[in-house]
């Protein structure tokens, strides 16, 4: 019975989306808010008792089948499942989503009703997608939710429909994740062919039993899918620009859920990754590289949202490191803690930037600490968790666990540990920068804004959770079937020292004129090592040249020029769409032009005429005369009798 309860969990957001998106009536503002909040919070209400029951041990692992189809040896079974991963992840997602929804109700209060509807409809659809990813018991529901998230993220990033930047950012996010999604789809299909079933519980053993080369291919494809969704190197370019969306979007999509979906994927399929040392090492290296890269770029940021975006990919790098080191439970713990403090950071940063006049530049946050003290306090808590402030913050415990797992994984792991330690120190450097900036006395006194309880309530809750989350790390790791790594006192002290070094570093960077000037000059780093430009030069431009050549039109040079000047955001002028249109035109010219122009029309028209004539002819059978029918019956009877006679001839 309870199994079917699981199926209900993603339904309220889906229903909310349908109601908000398709409702023909013009709902008034309050109704939209009420529907959105109800739909956004209902999953938490539905799932909380289930999850608590699971953690208390009164409910075991269950699978709720929704739909099953058999094709010969292949089985397609859509289902939801409750196991350690889905219980923890879904609970985290529902908690964070509820907080974000409540916060968004306040944050979006000034938007037009139509925009509000669009926004909340997509947020709810997104939530439904994420819930189906974490709770899926089969690869179809998993991939469906995964794609749903990709689609929603495109719409939500492009929420500001007047801004070409937002559109370009949404498109970039969509295309980048799509490239990775193709790899993921290929990997899942290969797994399906191995297992002849879509159940994840069947896929993993089948993947493990597969021949070596195929298994490696599958693992690599899954890894690429995860890297793309999580904005890890080399797919990291989409996330910083995706900050064009509203703050609640960033808080939900780009901290706790969507980018974390890649980590969820890897944790879910961790046995496949771990089975091949090479793939596991690649995962760990990608994770560490992104962690360092993200931290470095974040240090150089002047925009608080972009700073947080780089910190997101950096933290998810830590999760990947944990998966690569064979400790998915630790990754899960870091996922939960990161979801809590990162959404907190995004949302409190949103309030702070409201307080300082709507800018997201760190420099201009000056004095917002006095205008919005509660939000500032919660931001500090979040930043401490992000930087891994020793002992007090949940972030320290989970990060220590990740680092410990790396140390215990042999010499290679210890090398990665050193690099990750550097990244952890850098995390401290950037995490506190907005704090110091906000504490500075303002150039002109900012008016104290009223901190609405709708906005502050979730912040306080999440801040409390980010502190108390320290106690969750151990239980989560154990629930996931792992052990909390204890790599010895020295390692832990090193971690604490790194965090404290980060704190000192941030003071230096913020208050020493030399260093702040250096930060200001670090253009290259700020633009994410100009990876966008590199991709543009080596991938996008050649591709567009090919497309232009194929489409046989050079008239679009002007748009490409425009795009070159605006490198980060592109401005492609839709070469793919043009290519297909031109392909169609070319086909029309080559294939159909040799014929009489209207040949196809004539064929169609003649066939309709023939159908009509056949109808007229067939109608003659229906004379309406009784005798005709009787004769037809008599004829048929005669034929039957003769047939019967013939068959009994012998």
């Amino acid at each position: 019975m309870l199994a079917y309860f699981l199926l209900l969990v993603p339904l309220p957001p889906l229903g909310g989306f349908l109601l908000l998106a398709l409702d023909p009536y013009r709902l008034e503002r309050r109704a939209v808010m009420a529907v959105a909040l109800a739909a956004g919070i209902a999953p938490l209400v539905l799932f909380l008792p289930v999850a608590l029951g699971y953690f208390a041990g009164s409910i075991g692992d269950t699978i709720a089948p929704a739909f099953t189809l058999n094709f010969g040896q292949f089985e397609v079974a859509l289902a939801m499942q409750l196991d350690a991963l889905s219980a923890i992840a879904a609970l985290t997602v529902t908690v964070v989503a509820s907080c974000v929804m409540i916060y968004a109700a306040d944050y979006m209060a000034s938007a037009r009703v139509a925009d509000l509807r669009r926004f909340f409809a997509l947020m709810n659809l997104f939530l439904a997608g994420m819930l189906s990813v974490v709770m899926a018991a089969d690869s179809i529901v998993f991939f469906l939710g995964w794609e749903l998230m990709g689609l929603c993220s495109f719409f939500l990033i492009s929420y500001n429909m007047n801004s070409p930047r937002a559109f370009a950012a949404g498109r970039k996010a969509f295309v980048m994740t799509r490239i990775a999604d193709a790899a993921l789809l290929a990997g899942l299909l290969l797994l399906f062919l191995e297992a002849t079933s879509v159940r994840i519980a069947d896929l993993i053993p089948a993947g493990l039993a597969a021949p070596e080369q195929r298994a490696v291919v599958i693992a690599v494809l899954l890894l690429v899918g995860a890297l793309g969704k999580s904005a890890q190197l080399p797919f990291q370019t989409w996330l910083p620009t995706a900050m064009a969306g509203p703050t609640p979007v960033s808080a939900l999509l780009h901290s706790a859920t969507m980018v974390a979906a890649g980590a969820i994927l890897l944790i879910r399929f961790a046995p496949l990754i771990e089975a091949h040392p090479g793939v596991a090492a690649a995962t760990a290296i990608a994770g560490v590289a992104t962690a360092v890269f993200g931290a470095l770029c974040a240090v150089a940021q002047t925009d608080i949202k972009r700073l947080l975006a780089y910190s997101s990919i950096s933290q998810i790098g830590f999760m990947l490191l944990a998966v690569g080191m064979g400790a998915p439970g630790v990754a899960m713990a870091h996922f939960v803690v990161h979801a809590l403090f990162k959404s907190l950071l995004f949302m409190s940063a949103g309030v702070l930037s409201h307080a300082s006049g709507g800018t997201t530049e760190i420099r201009r946050l000056r004095g917002s600490a006095y205008a919005a003290p509660i939000s500032f306090a919660t931001y500090v808590v979040g930043a401490a968790a992000l930087a891994g402030f020793p002992i007090l913050s949940a972030g320290w415990w989970s990060k220590e666990a990740v680092l410990g797992a790396a140390v215990m994984a042999g010499p290679f792991g210890q090398f990665l540990w050193l690099v990750a330690l550097g990244s952890a120190a850098l995390t401290g450097v950037y995490a506190y920068r907005p704090v110091w900036s906000a504490l500075r006395s303002p150039v002109e006194p900012l008016p104290a804004i009223k901190e609405n309880w709708l906005a502050v309530g979730p912040l306080i809750f999440l801040a409390t959770a980010s502190v108390l989350g320290s106690f969750l790390v151990g239980p989560i790791v154990r629930t996931m079937g792992g052990t909390v790594p204890h790599a010895g006192l020295g390692v832990e002290v090193m971690g604490a020292l790194a965090a404290i070094a980060g704190l000192i570093g941030s003071v230096v960077v913020s208050f020493s004129p030399v260093w702040s000037a250096r930060i200001k000059r670090a253009r290259r780093l700020r633009a994410g090592m100009q990876m966008d430009a590199i991709y543009y030069a080596f991938l996008v431009r050649p591709y567009r040249r090919v497309v232009h050549k194929l489409s046989g039109r050079n008239a679009r040079k002007d748009t490409s020029h425009e795009a070159e000047t605006d490198r980060t955001d592109g401005g492609m002028g839709d070469p793919v769409g043009t290519a297909t249109v031109n392909l169609g035109l070319w086909l029309a010219r080559v294939v159909t032009a040799p014929f009489v122009p209207d040949r196809f029309d004539l064929v169609t028209m003649r066939s309709t005429r023939e159908v009509r004539r056949a109808g007229v002819w067939a109608r003659r059978l229906q004379t309406g005369r009784l005798r005709t029918y009787v004769m037809a019956i008599a004829f048929g009877l005669g034929v039957l009798v003769i047939l019967g006679w013939g068959m009994t001839w012998g």
């Binding site: 005798r627 009787v630 008599a634 004829f635 005669g638 034929v639 009798v641 003769i642 006679w645």
Partner: protein, 172 residues
């Protein structure tokens, strides 16, 4: 009675039926129908199916034909009408005859086989028949009764609406 008489009576019935469907005059056709039904009744008696024979005479040859008689009385029986009727039949009989022949010929070939070894026809017990109709076949009997009631209601309906609508049509 005997099979021989039953066969002879049934043959008479068939002959009367064939004549009946080919008559131009409705009165002749009706009389031949009556003859056919009476001959069938005789065949039933010959087969010791007395109850069936009695019913055949009373209901079929009696009531049904009586109803027909009332209707036939309204039919135009003039010489021109007869000629018209004959012309219609002459123009239309070939295809139906062909189609019916399709079925009849195989059946004629199917007569053979078996020996003339049967004893006298067994008499059907009327009491047993009643037990059957109102016992095992109760539902079927009820359905037939229902059908008769439906027929009655239908006739009542058609008959009632006849007057005013006919008058209306006459005016058109």
């Amino acid at each position: 009675m005997s099979w021989g008489f039953a066969i002879w009576a049934a043959t008479l019935a068939l002959a009367a039926a064939v004549l009946s469907v080919t008559r131009a005059s409705a009165v002749h056709a009706l009389l031949l129908l009556l003859a056919s039904l009476l001959a069938l009744g005789a065949a039933f008696f010959a087969m010791s199916a007395n109850f069936a024979g009695v019913i055949q005479l009373l209901i079929y040859a009696g009531a049904v034909v009586a109803v027909f008689v009332f209707v036939v009385m309204t039919v135009d029986a003039s010489e021109t009408a007869m000629a018209h009727e004959r012309k219609l039949l002459r123009s239309a009989w070939r295809w139906p005859a062909l189609f019916v022949g399709l079925s009849v010929i195989p059946i004629l070939f199917g007569i053979g086989g078996g020996a003339m070894d049967a004893g006298a026809p067994a008499a059907a017990d009327t009491r047993e028949l009643g037990l059957l109709l109102f016992g095992d076949w109760g539902v079927a009997t009820e359905l037939v009764a229902l059908m008769l009631i439906a027929g009655m209601i239908g006739v009542r309906h058609l008959g009632r609406s006849l007057g005013p609508r006919l008058r209306e049509r006459g005016r058109e």
